[in-house]
């Protein structure tokens, strides 16, 4: 792979999504809401549904999504207080103590991944379940994905499931042209790299 996310010496957490396996059950959304106590009506993760065609020639695609934890995060650049910051392992996090609620980051995010959490009086978003990662557990959405569409791991570890999936299948990232170097990879799981 040839992009800034890969540097063998470092841990870089990424998601690999398999849209073909997403059944849109939303277990990931509810698991996340409970785990992270997101307020009702606000979500740190979501599923984009794309319906195409005219009866009876139809298709529906489900794209599971959450914060892309970009390597070059536009949200971090516009944050006037440094509340949004990037960790060594690539996680983009919000320090609620420093957030002043100006919402510039929400404007800058290409993925609409952020929302105002009224209870926390701060802008909130997916953390890749950093508290669970630091305790050695996978993100809550990954653990309960009954379609097995969500995969998570260290892209720089060639033995990881995510690295193996990316080596085997062609993939794309959303709005890659924006140059933010997102860390969610969508694979075509029914196609294999020759």
């Amino acid at each position: 792979m040839d992009h800034p996310n890969t540097s063998p010496a470092k841990t870089r957490w990424v998601f690999v999504m398999e849209p073909e396996r997403c059944i849109d059950c939303e277990a990931c959304m509810i698991s996340c809401s409970v785990e992270n106590e997101a307020p009702l009506g606000k979500h740190r993760n979501w599923i984009v549904k794309i319906d195409k065609g005219i009866y009876p020639n139809l298709s529906t695609t489900f794209l599971p999504e959450n914060c892309h934890h970009c390597s070059n995060p536009p949200c971090e650049r516009v944050c006037p207080t440094g509340a949004t910051y990037r960790r060594e392992d690539g996680l983009v996090l919000v320090d609620f103590d420093k957030c002043i609620g100006c919402k510039y980051c929400m404007m800058a995010c290409p993925y609409d991944a952020r929302f105002v959490n009224e209870e926390k009086k701060a802008v909130d978003k997916c953390t890749f379940c950093v508290h669970r990662l630091d305790a050695g557990l996978p993100p809550a959405c990954v653990e309960t994905c009954i379609g097995h569409a969500r995969h998570f791991g260290n892209i720089n570890d060639p033995e990881s499931e995510v690295a193996k999936l990316l080596a085997k299948h062609p993939y794309y990232r959303l709005y890659e042209e924006a140059g933010s170097e997102p860390a969610i990879y969508y694979i075509y799981s029914n196609r294999v790299i020759e």
Partner: protein, 742 residues
């Protein structure tokens, strides 16, 4: 199906952002550098801010292994508890139904336990039924009162004047214990609203209730209305998705473009009620082209000649005229299916209460599998089924009294082939209303909501109004409880012990993660206490719930304390298992393609075509079904699930919608002979133009369900009652409705 209630999360986020952006700009302008650090408000507003160190806990006081009850699949779960509060539920990796994962409903379970609308105390009504006027009782007062009412009915009219009804649950053994000890034959379950035709057909063909499926090596799967990726049975949904991802060919017969259809290799939008024609034609092709497994048919089946003769005329060309699927498609699928066999199965399906001919459809599917030898082999149907429980200790009790009275629901005097444990629930209301063959006077409802689940709610309400006494035991004030005389609060599944569950030879325990909230009590406790007051104490010989479980564990090499800590226990394998795969519990000991039992009762011995009713011009088939985010009519007040799906708009194809001037989101009137209700249209390409669809469970009339009251509509306000004479199954897809713009 959340896509219609929330058409695109991306769009709504965009809209929100536009609003948010405007606010941010205005805020920045107004502040003009004066108070840039506090655009949200003053210092005071920040005092309640959660610090970063308030991140969710990862250390808990305990993790409790237990069983989910957000549906009937009973997945293993782990409840993470800290300071006597459940923070999170996760799947138990040791349970074969969850494999470490919970579905959306299982994940949302804490919102059922912590639902502010839960029943908190025993209640007796202090106004007319349904007035919502209640008086709080102590448990002693409530149980004494209920027992006195039941005994008064028994003494005056006989035990048979009490009806007992419940829905599939782990305390069912003690529920049944109570009704048998009380001495009434009148037992209502949800089964005739669900799978009577599937179970009866498999009993008649294979001698077991529901064959298992081996997805791991299946190469070809046909689903007939089984929406396995939306109507989630956790492990089976996982298996189905994995089979599809592996490249198995999946054919879905379904009038609606479901999520299963979206993932399938081939979606066939079949005309409702004609699945039977499709399967009869598959049989015809497979026999005519000699694609069946001749050795298997010879060795393990009876009635092949009769089946061949009966299906000769059911050609794909004939079927095409019925089910609106091209003959060449039907022929191709027959050939592909037979070639893939035995690593192929036509799924027996689940809720098959669709048409009066659904029993024949299920028989045809069973025979189709038998013809290609899809039985007991890798990738085929499997000879497993029914509840497990052998090896557990039993609780001593005296013999039950003899019951002379006939069952009100007509089993077996009107429905000779319906198994007693299934029954014909929807019939009971006619007995109550007409007083024939005798008049029932009381109804004991345990964790069930017939006021919502039975078709034709007006009829249910009329029947309830004729009863002298109704008591409902449930976790929440469901619609039936709302119209009851006494309501008893049961502890939620996260707060109680239930009898042990055995799955695939392993014992699993449901145990409290937290103590029962409010004054709620476990079902085991309620049945024992009520049993004693009814003079039936000898039938409930356990001191408490833990003692009940200890007696169950007595023959095993594990203590209750060990099981509580571990959550599961592998039963010793019995040497007698042997090769039971090809021993069939039918009168002939073989798979019965032709059934003498059916013939003896005046029905066709082999599957035959029965013409379903069709819609008049301008009328639609009213279809109903499940979604991933809700279970039957039991989860709609759960705030987490309600947030994902708060209502049930009516699916309507774009073409008839345009003809009626109906746009997406418009209010519409839906009318059937049973009723007329107003709802919102979801205009979509994803349904046949002659059908409308709604998921069930919405339209609660209980005002105590504050979150869900009055949201959406109930299919029971539109459905008519039709009963299949063979299986007793209610036909839920042959009510026709008109739709007009409101």
């Amino acid at each position: 199906m959340t896509d219609e209630s929330n058409p695109s999360s991306r769009v709504s986020r965009r809209q929100f952002l536009r609003w948010a952006g405007a606010t941010a700009v205005a805020g920045a302008l107004a502040a003009s550098g004066l108070d840039l650090l506090h655009p949200l408000g003053t210092e005071a507003a920040f005092r309640s801010v959660r610090r970063l160190s308030d991140a969710p806990p990862t250390q808990f006081d305990r993790e409790v292994a237990s069983l989910c009850e957000m549906c009937v699949w009973r997945c293993g779960l782990r409840a993470k508890v800290k300071d006597e509060r459940i923070y999170k539920l996760e799947g138990n990796p040791f349970h074969p139904h969850s494999r470490g994962m919970l579905c959306p409903r299982g994940q949302a379970g804490i919102a059922t336990a912590y639902d502010p609308d839960r029943l908190k105390y025993p209640l007796i009504r202090s106004g007319p039924r349904g007035s919502g006027k209640w008086r709080r009782l102590s448990w002693n007062e409530a149980l004494d009162y209920v027992a006195a009412q039941m005994l008064a009915i028994k003494n005056q009219y006989g035990a048979e004047a009490m009806i007992f009804s419940t829905t599939h649950n782990l305390v069912q053994t003690q529920f049944e214990n109570m009704l048998h000890a009380f001495g009434t034959p009148n037992y209502g379950t949800q089964r005739s609203l669900c799978y009577n035709s599937m179970i009866t057909a498999n009993l008649m063909t294979f001698g077991l209730e529901e064959p298992g499926r081996d997805y791991s090596q299946a190469r070809y799967i046909i689903y007939t209305g089984r929406n396995v990726l939306d109507s989630i049975s956790n492990s089976e949904s996982q298996d189905a998705m994995s089979a599809i991802a592996r490249g198995a060919k999946v054919v879905v017969l379904e009038p609606r473009f479901t999520k299963t259809a979206a993932k399938a290799t081939e979606w066939l939008p079949i005309k409702p009620g004609t699945d039977l024609a499709f399967h009869l034609a598959l049989i015809q092709v497979i026999i005519e082209q000699e694609l069946y497994d001749a050795d298997f048919v010879q060795e393990y089946t009876v009635g092949f000649a009769a089946l061949r003769e009966a299906t000769q005329s059911y050609t794909p060309e004939w079927a095409a005229g019925k089910c609106e699927i091209p003959a060449e498609t039907i022929r191709r699928i027959a050939i592909e299916f037979a070639q893939a066999a035995p690593q192929a199965f036509a799924h027996p399906n689940w809720r098959t209460s669709n048409f009066l001919n659904s029993f024949q459809t299920e028989r045809a599917i069973a025979c189709l599998n038998a013809l290609v030898g899809s039985w007991g082999r890798p990738g085929s149907l499997q000879p497993v089924g029914g509840e497990e429980g052998a090896g557990l200790g039993s609780i001593p009790q005296p013999a039950y009294p003899r019951t002379a009275a006939a069952r009100l629901d007509g089993v077996p005097w009107k429905y000779p082939l319906v198994p007693l444990k299934l029954g014909v629930f929807q019939e009971l209301r006619d007995n109550i209303i007409t007083g024939q063959p005798y008049q029932p006077h009381g109804w004991f409802v345990y964790r069930q909501n017939p006021a919502q689940s039975l078709p034709d709610r007006t009829k249910t309400a009329e029947a309830m109004s004729k009863l002298d006494f109704i008591v409902t035991i449930d976790v929440s004030m469901n619609d039936t409880a709302w119209f009851s005389d006494v309501v008893l609060p049961e502890a939620s599944y996260l707060e109680r012990y239930d009898p042990l569950a055995v799955v695939d030879g392993t014992v699993f325990i449901r145990q409290p993660a937290i103590a029962p909230l409010y004054e709620s009590k476990p079902g085991l406790w309620i049945f024992k206490e009520l049993g004693q007051r009814l003079g039936l104490g000898d039938y409930f010989q356990y001191k408490d719930e833990e003692d009940y479980l200890r007696q169950q564990l007595a023959p095993l090499d594990i203590t209750l304390e060990e099981l509580k800590a571990k959550g599961h226990y592998r039963l010793p394998t019995s040497a007698a298992e042997g090769d039971k795969a090809f021993v069939f519990n039918t009168p002939t000991g073989k798979i019965e393609l032709a059934s003498q039992t059916l013939a003896n009762s005046g029905f066709s011995a082999v599957p035959v075509w029965e013409e379903p009713v069709s819609n008049a011009p301008g009328a639609f088939f009213l279809l109903s079904g499940k979604v991933a985010q809700h279970t039957q009519c039991a989860t709609h007040n759960n705030k987490l699930l309600h947030e994902r799906m708060p209502s049930n708009p009516l699916w309507l194809n774009t073409v008839p919608a345009a003809e009626r001037g109906i746009r997406d989101g418009d209010e519409v009137w839906v009318e059937s002979p049973a009723g007329k209700v107003k709802t919102v249209a979801y205009v979509t390409e994803k349904i046949r133009p002659d059908c409308v669809f709604m998921t069930f469970g919405f339209g609660h009339v209980s005002k105590a369900l504050v979150t869900s009251y009055g949201q959406g509509i109930s299919d029971s306000s539109l459905h008519l009652s039709f009963t299949d004479p063979v299986s007793g199954s209610q036909a839920l897809s042959q009510t026709f409705v008109t739709v007009t713009k409101a």
